[in-house]
Symmetry: C2
Subunit: 291 residues, 2 copies
């Protein structure tokens, strides 16, 4: 099994056992635990946990230490998907090839599932017995900041629907909406093992190139890939009148831009104090992804 | 100025300066910062911060150390009010004598404001330079657990609307929905100053009596107080077909029950290792509150 598949299976099993450990609420028709499970265990690429595990592996082979961070970052990501899919937000009824959370459990429970998942992400890291208190504080501080930036990015995103925006605004919006959490996933792996300030700043720059590349690529795939492969509706940006890279600079220019950004990201990695092989491999695979 | 008014002014000023420190997002029509400010600075009793300051004052006179906890717990409370007021939830259009957040900014921004406030609460404590890392972890662990319990309590609350429930279920629901956060406010004050396990367990029991008393009293006030004084619609439980203590055990029995619970709470306090005067005074004032 390839290493990224191993990481995916590992975080799936951590998430499954973590959610399984939440006590049931008797006497309720709907249990919040089950509402959360529906979305968390629906699959997905687990891109953020894979980033955390991969970066952590550059510094140390003790993979268990990265479990709570990998799981927490995925809980934050899933909470944001549940809320983004709500009728008041992006109004998407399909996610990961199944009905969106609110389509199954109703809007109220979907809002609460997102709220609950955000709280649980902080629980997971603050309760991890393998990480010392000083490191935990750095991780929690970064996750809180990134989670806030994500909400702010989504707020900006909603306020620019149907508007003419330039590339600069689009970049800034994505830097918050998706970039902040990717940056968090990447730096988690380094903070866990007390990486140097120099490595952290290289990874910060790597994350910013990778995050933007990933987003532009998402916009391109939204135009070029079928619903079934994406696991959500195709062409959703255009249908919703959302500004996207292809709509501003065209499809070919968008492809060229994200490929350049991935190459910049690759080049940064060679300056790390550790062997960057596994992270470089992951970056190449991302550049060539088809969904 | 009475001590509780001083605490209220103190937390108001901390919240104001904290939200003021969040950078603006240029190019947006609506700024998430302003959406949050609208609800956070709308006033309110600041009951939870007052509890934190009061308990902290039993152990130490250094009040600055409690600022981040007092502010964070209020941010969690306000986030929950914004989400609870949404049409998909309790559908309330008035809160603190002004329009609810979603009535002014729309549902999407209101959901994001709640999401952002939860993240900021964790930022506030994890960034506080006055608290050491070990203590911060205890505070963050408790806040994450309490915030999750609150979401779960609201989930149970929504699933029992229009249903016949017994006192036992109602107690359990309130223990999560409002009790968990009150317990957190109270224990924050003690954890900040390394209180003994014995004191923490006395405060836990005090919090559980106080929390239930406060909730039953809320149900009673919902029936007996005017909209203007409450700052929200009167008789809202009955209109929404929500089970309440007066609807199950009657008004007089409800009053007797909450008074007894406050008295139990008072008695617990005498066993603390420190002078419980200020907390005892606060409890008496709560018992006699009219809104």
């Amino acid at each position: 099994m390839k290493i990224h598949d191993q990481y995916r299976e590992r975080v799936n099993s951590c998430l499954d056992s973590f959610l399984g450990s939440i006590p049931s609420s008797p006497n309720s028709d709907i249990e919040l635990r089950d509402v959360m499970k529906y979305s968390v265990l629906a699959g997905g690429k687990r891109f953020r946990p894979i980033l955390t595990y991969t970066v952590a592996s550059l510094y140390d082979s003790e993979i268990e230490k990265a479990d709570s961070c990998a799981s927490a970052i995925e809980l934050i990501h899933i909470y944001s998907l549940i809320h983004d899919d709500l009728p008041a937000m992006d109004n998407d009824d399909i996610r990961h090839n199944q009905l969106s959370n609110h389509k199954v459990f109703g809007e109220a429970q979907a809002i609460l599932a997102g709220d609950g998942l955000q709280a649980l992400a902080f629980s997971l890291i603050s309760n991890d017995p393998l990480i010392n208190a000083d490191t935990k504080i750095k991780l929690l501080e970064l996750m809180a900041k990134s989670s806030y930036a994500m909400a702010e990015g989504q707020s900006i995103d909603l306020s620019v629907v149907s508007k003419k925006v330039d590339l600069n605004i689009l970049n800034k919006m994505h830097q918050k909406k998706t970039g902040a959490l990717l940056n968090c996933s990447i730096k988690f792996g380094a903070l866990l093992h007390n990486a140097s300030e120099n490595d952290l700043s290289i990874l910060e720059s790597f994350a910013s190139h990778l995050g933007l590349a990933y987003q532009i690529q998402d916009d391109v795939l939204d135009v070029t890939t079928s619903d079934e492969v994406l696991g959500k509706r195709q062409n959703s940006d255009a249908v919703k009148n959302k500004p996207s890279y292809p709509s501003i600079i065209g499809l070919n220019e968008s492809i060229k831009t994200f490929e350049n950004l991935y190459q910049n990201a690759q080049e940064e990695l060679s300056h790390l104090s550790v062997d960057c092989g596994p992270l470089s491999l992951l970056t190449t695979r991302l550049m060539n992804r088809s969904y």
